[in-house]
């Protein structure tokens, strides 16, 4: 299991406002139609923390996906 943070995309139903978004400071929000898409680098425990917040705030989780790491990303140790 790779312990390094990986990019994730999380899709939630509805537009999250400033109040709810403040629960996800590590993620960047974008509105896609009627959905909100949150993206960011998360390690395992951060990911489960985000899922717990989604549960606590009663949000409607539609999709969660780990994105392919960008080529030539600055992942430490890649070049060695």
């Amino acid at each position: 299991m790779n312990p390094a943070p990986a990019p994730y995309m999380i899709r939630i139903n509805g537009h999250l406002g400033a109040t709810v978004l403040s629960a996800f400071p590590a993620l960047a929000p974008q509105h896609h139609g009627a959905h909100t898409v949150l993206t960011g680098l998360l390690d395992r425990s951060a990911l489960y923390g985000v899922l717990a917040e989604i549960e606590a705030l009663g949000l409607d989780l539609l999709e969660i996906r780990r994105l392919a790491p960008e080529r030539r990303s600055s992942e430490p140790g890649d070049s060695r």
Binding site: I12, N13, G14, H15, L16, G17, A18, T19, V20, S22, A23, H31, A34, E55, A56, L57, G58, L59, D60
Partner: protein
């Protein structure tokens, strides 16, 4: 944590209630649905209905509950209230050494004794975090007595081993789809709130919220008294924002500023009362606002009968907290500081520490936690304390926390880690101001003693910490209350350590002083602990004084300690184990073997969770002498061996070790293992070989070798009182061995004299053990009745000896071991564990049916009816220790 049922202010959801009625006919019902689905409201409405046939035990799990004990105590209380159990009979008090499985059994036995049906309700199960909870709950739920039902509400599915219930159709579930409001219910909710909305508007609202309960209730709050409800719904419907956030903002906007202010600021608390809210808002009158809020909506609720403490609906509180952080971030630390101060002043240390941490005042939080570590532990909040410890940011250096780490290590038997943390604490103590230094030193000394006790390395430590026994000087006034807990624990540890190293008078004095102090400061746990250790200390005392009915005194002390422990529901907790163990031992000494058996069971239960070598060693020793007295030498040897293994794990030599080695050697000799016994004897040092106990062992070996003359040589110094002995039991034993030797040599007159001397010594206590252990029945029978002035004792002893030997024969002639198949034996060995039958099936990778079939035939072959007697029978027949015997 427990909830008083209140009258529902919500609409009557007839269909849903009927669904729950149907579900509740099953053994277990699980309501699993996301935040805001209306789980709690449903439970309240269901509970609040009149004419319920079942009594209710209702527990609402506290937010972020990390402490299994707090939960189980609340559940036990709720069950007791529901069943109307006699509240004077037994309290249920928190204890530092909590045993979750024993508690599950207590809850089950309370339920089993209840007349009529009981329904257990646990709400917010998802907040219960301790990792052992699922297994404990599974045990509860799979063993519910007939006529008891359980309903659990949770935000997400919890992994419980309810497979068997599911297969049997005894598990019902209510999920989000069932909780969803229908359009008709939406209309009824609006009507009940006095909101007039068109059919189209109602449909739109229902569609937009998707029947989500929290959304509809928030909407109803905004719609009450709204000038244009249709427009509100249209705007809401046209918005893409999430339901809860949109509606919360609307609802807050409609509140007066002082209400908004109160809601935001107090959202930082898990529970709030008027005084705390006044403190956080900086203005009076908060209690009335809270009461009004409870009366007008479902998101604020009181949870005590007097309506003084309130809490917010979780989802609502979470949203308010986020809003607070977003809009007034700068104020948050100061608010937490104020809350911490309030909780601290009201003696709620855990809460005070939590808020100090939340304020980011880490050094202060570390100091608070270290200061309160002893009383949190004594309050039975060790798990809470460890959770607080985990909350400190990693890498931050707070040396005072090493003390708290050391306590946790000790509690879990991580002795090396505990020692390392104590070293850190000692170094730190040198750098602290004198005011704090004293209490730190006492804390360190107390923990060192406790550590030394567990390692069996006592003498040196006792010297170092004698200062604990000095009176309270150097305490600042505010330290005194804190200091009393600390001092009582320290004295208890000192007295216990002294008892173990045979410093009996000091031990008794310190334990009595600690018990008196514990009583004065209202710490029953410590009082019970001290009295239990006093019982243990006095068995040595008894052994040294043959003329004072010493064993009877010891028994009385043990029973007093046990009675007090029972009053707090600690009758089978580790804290009382020393007294249970000592009582069991005295019964063996007095020849009450069947009674000893009963108490042994209970002692075993009490030490279940205690893996310390000290207490386990005593347990094996007690079992061993019971076997030895019954002439079951093989079994005795195995137990003595186990005790010796444990003794070798302990650093120093403990006082009773000599006695145990003596009995071990004698048992080997009686079994004909002469080579082993001789070899072990040769390996002992001079101090031991010159002692009365080891001389007795040498005599037993000589007798077994057929050399009674050398046996008499070995006994010479014991009989003329020049060899050091641990107690007069050794002397009685020596006289009996001499009697046996004289008989072998054909000198009946000397044999009779020896027997008579043994009886004379044994008479005041009516001691039986040495007669049974040495196998002196024939020696006593040969003693003419007119030659003894202890005829009554003689008769008693012979009766015991004949009784136990016939029983031993009867049991050893019972041959079921051969009849049990390997599969049955495998299942049988799991019976002694905490595992349920489905779990055993899982462990063995066989089906539950196979396990059940095996069990039925095991029960039949062992001629028992239930699991516990099967285990008992299997222990007697030594079927549980396969690897050692086969």
């Amino acid at each position: 944590m427990t909830v008083v049922p209140t009258t529902p202010r919500l609409i009557d959801r007839r269909d849903l209630l009927a669904a729950l009625d149907r579900a509740a006919a099953s053994k277990v019902t699980i309501i699993s649905a996301p935040a805001g689905s209306g789980k709690t409201s449903l439970l309240r409405a269901w509970v609040g209905r009149a004419g319920r046939p079942h009594r209710l035990a209702l527990v609402q799990v506290q937010r972020d509950q990390n402490d299994a004990q707090q939960f189980w105590l609340a559940l036990l209380d709720a069950v007791r209230r529901a069943t109307g159990a006699n509240s004077d009979a037994e309290l249920s008090a928190a204890t530092p050494d909590f045993n979750g499985y024993a508690m599950v059994d207590r809850v089950l036995s309370e339920l089993a004794e209840a007349q009529g049906g009981v329904t257990l309700v646990v709400d917010d199960l998802h907040e219960l975090h301790p990792p052992e909870i699922p297994a404990q709950l599974t045990r509860l739920l799979t063993n519910l007595p007939p006529n008891v039902h359980a309903i659990l509400a949770t935000r997400h599915d919890v992994r419980l081993g309810l497979h068997r219930l599911r297969l049997a159709g005894e598990l019902a579930e209510i999920r989000a789809v069932h909780l969803r409001f229908s359009e008709r219910e939406t209309r009824e909710l609006l009507e009940a709130s006095g909101v007039a909305l068109s059919a189209a508007g109602t449909a739109l609202l229902h569609q937009r919220t998707e029947g989500w309960a929290a959304g509809l209730r928030l909407a109803a709050l905004s719609l009450i008294g709204h000038a244009d409800p249709e427009r509100f719904v249209a705007e809401f419907s046209g918005s893409d924002r999430t339901v809860a956030e949109y509606l919360l903002a609307e609802m807050l906007d409609r509140q007066p500023p002082d209400v908004q202010n109160l809601l935001l600021r107090t959202s930082l608390l898990d529970r709030v009362n008027g005084e705390l809210a006044d403190l956080l808002t900086g203005r009076p009158g908060s209690e009335q606002i809270l009461l009004d809020l409870e009366d007008t909506n479902a998101f604020v609720e009181s949870f005590d009968p007097g309506r003084t403490w309130f809490r917010y609906h979780q989802l609502f509180a979470d949203l308010l907290r986020l809003e607070m952080r977003r809009t007034l971030p700068a104020e948050i630390p100061a608010l937490h500081r104020r809350a911490a101060g309030w909780f601290s002043r009201h003696g709620q240390a855990a809460e005070a520490i939590r808020h100090t941490q939340a304020a980011g005042d880490w050094p202060e939080a570390a100091q608070l936690l270290a200061d309160h570590a002893f009383n949190l532990t004594l309050d039975g909040q060790a798990q809470t304390m460890q959770a607080l410890l985990q909350a400190f940011p990693p890498g931050a250096d707070h040396p005072e926390l090493a003390l708290v780490h050391a306590m946790g290590d000790l509690a879990h038997g991580r002795l090396d880690e505990a020692a390392a943390h104590l070293v850190v604490t000692e170094t730190y103590a040198e750098t602290t101001p004198p005011g704090r230094q004293h209490s730190l030193h006492v804390a360190i000394a107390s923990l060192k003693l406790s550590l030394a006790r567990r390692r069996g390395h006592l003498a040196g430590v006792i010297e170092q910490v004698r200062f604990l026994a000095s009176p309270l000087t150097g305490w600042s006034d505010e330290d005194l209350a804190l200091g009393s807990d600390l001092r009582a624990v320290a004295l208890m540890n000192l007295g216990t350590a002294e008892a173990w190293s045979l410093g009996v008078p000091d031990a008794e004095r310190h334990l009595r002083e600690a018990a008196a102090l514990a009583r004065r400061i209202g710490r029953p746990y410590l009082e019970v602990g001290c009295l239990a250790q006093l019982g243990f200390a006095s068995i040595f005392h008894g052994a040294a004084m043959p003329k004072m009915e010493a064993f009877a005194t010891t028994q009385r002390r043990c029973r007093e300690a046990i009675t007090l422990a029972e009053r707090y529901g600690w009758g089978t907790e580790p804290v009382i184990a020393p007294a249970l163990m000592t009582l069991t031992s005295t019964m063996v000494f007095l020849g009450e073997f069947d009674e000893a058996d009963r108490w042994l069971r209970r002692t075993e239960q009490a030490v279940q969770t205690d893996t310390g070598p000290d207490i386990r060693l005593l347990l094996h020793q007690t079992v061993a002498i019971l076997h030895a007295c019954r002439g079951r030498h093989h079994e005795a040897l195995e137990e003595f061996g186990a005790a010796e293994d444990l003794a070798s794990q302990m650093e120093g030599s403990q006082a009773l070790a000599r006695q145990m080695t003596s009995w071990l050697l004698a048992t080997q000799a009686r079994l004909g293992l002469l080579g082993e016994a001789r070899a072990a004897l040769t390996a002992l040092d001079d101090e031991w070989t010159s002692s009365g106990e080891i001389r007795n062992a040498r005599a037993v070996i000589c007798l077994a070798e057929g050399d009674p003359a050398r046996a008499l040589d070995a006994l010479h110094d014991v009989l003329d009182d020049t060899a050091p002995v641990l107690g007069y039991v050794t002397l009685v034993e020596a006289h009996l061995l001499a009697g046996l030797a004289h008989r072998e040599l054909g000198d009946q007159r000397a044999a009779n004299q020896a027997a008579e001397r043994a009886l004379a010594l044994a008479d005041s206590d009516r001691l039986v053990l040495p007669f049974a252990m040495t196998g002196s029945a024939e020696l006593l029978e040969a003693l003419p009745r007119h030659q003894t002035s202890h005829a009554a004792l003689l008769a008693d002893i012979l009766e015991v000896l004949h009784g136990s030997s016939s029983m031993a024969k009867e049991q050893s002639s019972f041959p079921p071991a051969k009849k049990l198949s390997p599969g049955e034996l495998r299942v049988l060995r799991y019976l002694a564990t905490n595992l349920s039958r489905p779990e055993i099936a899982n462990e063995l990778s066989v089906s539950l049916n196979t396990v059940n079939t095996h069990l039925r035939s095991v029960y039949a072959k062992l001629q028992v009816r239930d699991r516990s007697s099967a285990v008992r029978r299997a222990r007697e027949l030594r079927l549980l220790a396969a690897r050692r015997t086969s």
